[in-house]
Amino acid sequence: MRFIIIVKATPDSEAGVMPEAPLRAEMAAYHEALVNAGVLLDAAGLQPSAKGWRVRYRGTQAQVIDGPFTEAEGLIAGYTLIQVRTREEAVEWARRCPAPRGRGRDAEIEVRQLFERDGAETGPA
């Protein structure tokens, strides 16, 4: 089963400020551990929403709205996609993810399970 670990955007990530060296090292070590365990499928950091856009559908119209966007709640800064055997394994790996704004600073990550392409695990959670 696959899970995506979603890291939420922060004012820093939206300003295009790279995390400080210790945090980058922690993140690198975390992803290395995922690779060594054979569970990492994909991971990427996202550029600030200033470089992105939204498409708003209204009736039959599709309107393109350029970033940046302000609602920090809904914005994401990166993701890590893993494949594990059980939900508990995903919880354990998520627990090991470094705090995305550095130690001691409030932040949040969100984990969601993917639908499987072969139709497995589509039932209620």
Binding site: N36, A37, G38, L41, E92, G119
Partner: protein, 429 residues
């Protein structure tokens, strides 16, 4: 957390950590069976403490430290025991001073890199040629996959007691043969690595080809083989054949959703809905293949099979398949890993690239091969070529013969349907 939830959480930590713990302890005690026992002791300790104290922040390190201490105790006892036989009355403090420092050093030395080396030693030991193939597979799943004996037994359709017996015997064999806990030296490496890759591929195939076994365990076997392949590729990043195997498994796994229809019936490669192939796994497979080729390993048997899988993966529609390239790859594969199965597949490719008559000629030359006497794909392929040549009665007979030979119910259904279709005018084959 409820007790049940805590137990599941502990099980998850165990699955993530067990191979590393066993591998590291095995280096200390030089015995894989004993190492697993000591690691299990650490798990039991976790099951006692964690439901009460809560999961430690670094659960992996907790397990590792606990197991190492058990190993240390065991070594101390053994040394004591040995000394007692040698020199009765030897001063205990002097003995400990003699024994302990080595272990303390060993403990302190263990960094992530060492853990990687230990894991690799465990991989090679579990796949050691002193063991039968069945034993290698069982031990690999048990020690490296963290699968329970029950899960392994279900995957291979044997009673749990039989599988437990097999694992116990395998560990005893390693101890009795005094198999060193090490990565083989350069001269031995190619052959030993081939054994490791064969075990992983066997596990993958057992899950993928579904000739028998518990349906629930099958996807788990494919996933586990893929995971093990990725782990070994991480441990040996310069071995092109490891990457070749991983590439082949990633691409084959990308087709999982398209391999059966709504009713669970098998769908042949050329008939699959390619929009259901998993583009992420294809991309990962092609990337691994590119790395294998960049390392100069394009002619390795696994890399060649990955390249064959890649030919299909790159064709957005079945009609776009580059059959001439596939023939060339089978030519290369026949040179490094000649087998009747490769010849059969090559004949299929020739039939697609250069017409059914050319393919049939090659198939007929293979028909006498005793290795293919019970292989249902031979009459199936022959039926296909005959049908394309308009020789419908012969084609029908071949499909029926193939249906009578397969052990897989779904394949049999498919072959009977083809036999029926080819004999019915107006229906396309």
């Amino acid at each position: 957390m409820t007790v049940d939830a805590t137990h599941r959480a502990i099980e998850a930590v165990w699955r993530i950590e067990s191979a590393k713990v066993i591998a590291h302890v095995a280096r200390l005690v030089r015995d894989v069976g004993l190492a697993e026992e000591l690691a299990q002791d650490a798990l039991v300790a976790a099951l006692e403490h964690w439901p009460v104290d809560g999961l430690p922040a670094n659960a992996g390190a907790w397990l590792m430290t606990t197991a190492k201490h058990r190993a240390l105790d065991r070594l101390r006892q053994d040394a004591l025991h040995a000394r007692k036989h040698e020199e009765l009355g030897h001063d205990l403090d002097a003995l400990q001073a003699h024994v302990v420092p080595d272990f303390v050093d060993a403990l302190a030395e263990a960094s992530e890199d060492d853990i990687g080396d230990d894991l690799l030693r465990l991989v090679f030991t579990a796949c050691h040629p002193v063991l039968s193939t069945d034993a290698r597979v069982a031990l690999t799943l048990r020690l490296l996959g963290g699968l329970t004996t029950d899960e392994i037994a279900r995957a291979f359709l044997v009673p749990e007691a039989t599988m437990a017996q097999r694992i116990v015997r395998a560990k005893r064999t390693l101890t009795e043969a005094r198999v060193p806990f090490e990565v083989p030296r350069a001269a031995e490496l190619p052959e030993r690595l081939a054994s490791v890759l064969a075990v992983i591929y066997l596990v993958f195939n057992e899950g993928y080809s579904a000739t028998a076994g518990d349906d629930w365990m099958r996807p788990a076997l494919c996933a586990e083989a893929l995971r093990l392949g990725r782990v070994v590729a991480g441990l040996m990043p310069d071995e092109s054949e490891v990457l070749g195997l991983v590439a082949m498994m990633e691409i084959q796994a990308s087709r999982t959703a398209a391999r059966t229809d709504d009713q669970g019936r098998a769908v042949l490669l050329m008939d699959q809905d390619r929009s259901r192939w998993d583009p992420l796994l294809i991309r990962r497979g092609l990337a691994a293949l590119a790395r294998a080729e960049a390392l100069g390993g394009a002619r390795g048997p696994y890399a060649l099979q990955a390249a064959l899988a890649a030919c299909h993966a790159r064709a957005r529609q079945a009609e776009q398949t580059d059959w001439a390239q596939i023939v060339a790859l089978y030519d290369a594969l026949a040179q490094v890993a000649k087998s009747p199965i490769v010849e059969l597949n090559r004949a299929v490719a020739v039939g697609m690239a250069f017409g059914p008559a050319a393919g049939l000629e090659l198939i007929d030359a293979l028909a006498a091969d005793p290795a293919l006497a019970n292989y249902h794909w031979l009459p199936s392929v022959r039926g296909d070529l005959l049908a394309r040549l308009g020789r419908v009665e012969e084609a029908r007979a071949e499909f029926e013969r193939a249906a009578g030979m397969t052990r897989n119910a779904r394949e049999r259904e498919l072959l009977m349907a083809r036999a029926h279709a080819v004999a019915t005018p107006s229906s396309r084959v």
